[in-house]
């Protein structure tokens, strides 16, 4: 029989960059058939990934310090860092602790969740224009949230609205699959069509509830929620968003290589050993949890899930091993900074966070579309 490969398949995993490099040198010396050009590709790729993630993490840290420091009362950056690290002696400790930090942290987790959810949806639909709400998850959350606000159920407790929105988000996905099952067809095109229909339906239901809102206060609450905002977020919101987002992000990262193969198309993915139907179901649920958790604590914030993964793909390429963590970091950074702009740009008049993400996101997105590269990256 023919040999099963150039090297034994049971070689121990390459844990360190050093091992990889050693193997490469060995390979480069032994392989005469290959040209020398791909020598060193792997260390370079790895270095590039580490550098990119490091830069994005530094950017996020900078944005966090900036957003906590800047406000109606300016706090020096060093003082901010000290307070966050546990120094209680600062006169600004209570502002940071009870107002700014929870708001910024909610922004961080919501942005990270939306960035990753968008990247996952774009991969599953093989379309860089897909976004987290494409299957009706966000508008499903909106129906539930608006119902909660209009009915006055918010009085029962701070957790009613987020829980309702989260349930609405997952309910929308269940509905998509229920309709698809009735047709015995779970192809991605069918899911997309069902999502379009549900988005329209949910939008109409929301409109009906809004026009029949009992009073102006309720209406204001609804509009605020529908545009998305981070104002008055508290530690209880942080608690609500941290656990589902952290767990789900970790789970999504397990599927990075599967997502890469999915980009080859359903047929090639299936032929490459991906159980396409099951993978899609798992990832749609995870993306819905991310989106639902984000929407639950911040309302509907657009453009983060669309622009952030798109931007990263253009600069760093489509490999999800790098794309997903980058989308989490940049998504968090983008939303924290957008919220800062919303608070401060026209101070004392504040904009809604969701308004600012759209105001920044839409032009950036247009720019990306116009600059869409068709030539080689190098």
């Amino acid at each position: 029989m023919r040999s099963r490969g150039m090297a034994p398949a049971e070689t121990a995993p390459a844990e360190t960059a050093h091992q990889v490099r050693t193997a490469e040198m060995h390979h480069g010396a032994s392989a005469t058939a290959t040209t020398g050009t791909e020598d060193g590709v792997r260390p370079r790729t790895r270095t590039r990934a580490v550098a990119a993630l490091g830069a994005l993490a530094a950017l996020l840290l900078g944005a966090l310090v900036l957003a906590v420091s800047i406000g109606p009362i300016q706090i020096p950056f060093t003082e901010t860092v000290q307070v966050v690290l546990g120094n209680r002696s600062s006169e600004h400790a209570s502002i940071i602790d009870s107002i700014r930090l929870p708001r910024v942290l909610v922004g961080l987790f919501v942005g990270a969740a939306l960035g990753v959810a968008g990247a996952v949806m774009q991969a599953l639909f093989r379309n860089p224009l897909a976004e987290p709400g494409v299957l009706g998850v966000s508008s499903g959350a909106a129906v539930a949230a608006v119902a909660v606000i209009v009915s006055g159920a918010t009085a029962a407790g701070a957790w009613v609205l987020p829980l309702g929105a989260f349930t609405g988000a997952l309910g929308a996905l269940v509905l998509v699959y229920a309709v698809a099952s009735a047709r015995r067809d779970r192809s991605i095109a069918t899911l997309l069509l069902i999502g379009i229909a549900l988005n329209a339906l949910f939008g109409a239901v929301v409109s009906a509830m809004v026009t029949n809102a009992p009073n102006d206060d309720t209406l204001r609450g609804v509009v605020f929620w529908l545009n998305g905002d981070l104002v008055a977020r508290t530690w209880s919101h942080v608690q609500m968003v941290v656990i589902p987002v952290a767990i789900t992000l970790a789970a999504v990262l397990v599927f990075t290589r599967d997502l890469n193969v999915m980009l080859l198309g359903e047929v090639q993915a299936q032929a490459s050993g991906v159980d396409v139907v099951r993978l899609r179901r798992v990832l749609l649920v995870l993306a819905a949890v991310l989106t639902g958790a984000a929407v639950a604590v911040a309302g509907i914030i657009g453009f983060v899930g669309l622009v952030v993964p798109h931007l990263i793909r253009m600069v760093l390429g489509p490999d999800h091993r790098l794309l997903l963590p980058s989308a989490a970091l940049l998504g968090g950074t983008f939303l924290v900074l957008a919220d800062l702009v919303a608070r401060m740009l026209f101070s004392p008049v504040t904009l809604q966070t969701g308004t600012v993400t759209a105001l920044i996101g839409a032009p950036v997105f247009l720019l990306l579309v116009l600059r869409r590269r068709r030539a080689p990256r190098t």
Partner: protein, 281 residues
């Protein structure tokens, strides 16, 4: 012949290779593939030939388990392919489709590396061996010079070479190809056909949809001629490509002679037959 006939009857089931029994595919009530039974042995190149619309592509999709037949079963190494887990299936069978278009900016090497997907567990990192196999298969497919280039910038033929390298990186028992040389220039056609020959000699069962009958005769051990979704005849190229079969299936008046240069067949279609009905009767 008698030994393989016996094994086909079940007295001593062939342990390797691919076997398809009674494959029938219906799409919207139309029968696209009609009760096709065929086998590909390790070490052999089986050519699937037939006029446009004969059902070759659909049959190959069933053999690759990316399409589900209405009836029939595909077995690899004696096991029903569709009952294998996706990962195990991809270790047994690799498939190069006709359409290899891709919208995302992966390098050619990234795509070939994806051929290792069925060999690497979800919680395992890629190993040095996976990278080595990737480079070796790029070289085998004659695509090493494309390794660092984005697949979005490659020509159709170059992309086909990259996908061929990816399929080889599966290290499969069975290699399925849908018109692997259709988009290639003369040199690359020959390169790929010789590559298939070489892979078969190393013990793979290779099944390729081919359009050029002379190439099919020269590089395949056996041919399966399809028409209207049915398998008309299969066997040695000299048994399959005859004046009569070419008239009945392709509707041409063709001369089939020995090619003194290649030792295979030379087929010259002299004329189209006037009373040929290309649709199913």
């Amino acid at each position: 012949m008698s030994a393989s006939d016996m094994s086909a009857n079940g007295t001593a089931p062939a342990p390797h290779g691919l076997r398809a029994d009674g494959i029938t595919v219906e799409i919207d009530g139309r029968t696209i593939v009609d009760d096709v039974t065929l086998a590909a042995q390790p070490g052999q190149v089986l050519g699937l030939i037939g006029p446009n619309g004969a059902g070759k592509t659909t049959l190959v999709r069933v053999l690759a388990a990316v399409a589900t037949p209405a009836r029939g079963e595909v077995r690899v190494g004696g096991r029903a392919l569709r009952r294998l887990p996706a990962r195990e299936r991809a270790r047994q069978v690799a498939y190069v489709p006709q359409d290899t278009a891709l919208d995302f900016d992966f390098t050619a090497r990234d795509v070939v590396l994806m051929g290792r997907h069925p060999h690497v567990g979800r919680f395992e990192p890629l190993r040095v061996a996976d990278h080595d196999i990737t480079d070796a298969m790029l070289a085998e497919a004659g695509a090493s010079h494309l390794a660092g280039q984005l697949v979005t910038t490659l020509s159709g033929g170059e992309r086909q070479l990259v996908h061929l390298a990816k399929a080889l990186a599966h290290q499969p028992e069975v290699l399925l190809l849908d018109e692997p040389v259709a988009a290639l220039d003369l040199r690359h056609q020959l390169h790929v056909l010789q590559l298939l020959r070489r892979q078969a000699d190393r013990g793979l069962a290779v099944i390729a949809v081919l359009h050029d009958l002379e190439q099919a005769a020269r590089f395949c051990d056996r041919l399966a001629l399809m028409q209207h979704g049915r398998l008309v005849v299969s066997g040695h190229p000299r048994e399959v490509l005859t004046h009569t079969s070419l008239a009945e299936v392709y509707g041409v008046n063709a001369v089939v002679v020995d090619d003194v240069t290649t030792g295979a067949l030379r087929i010259t279609a002299l004329d189209v037959l006037p009373d040929f009905a290309p649709v199913k009767r």
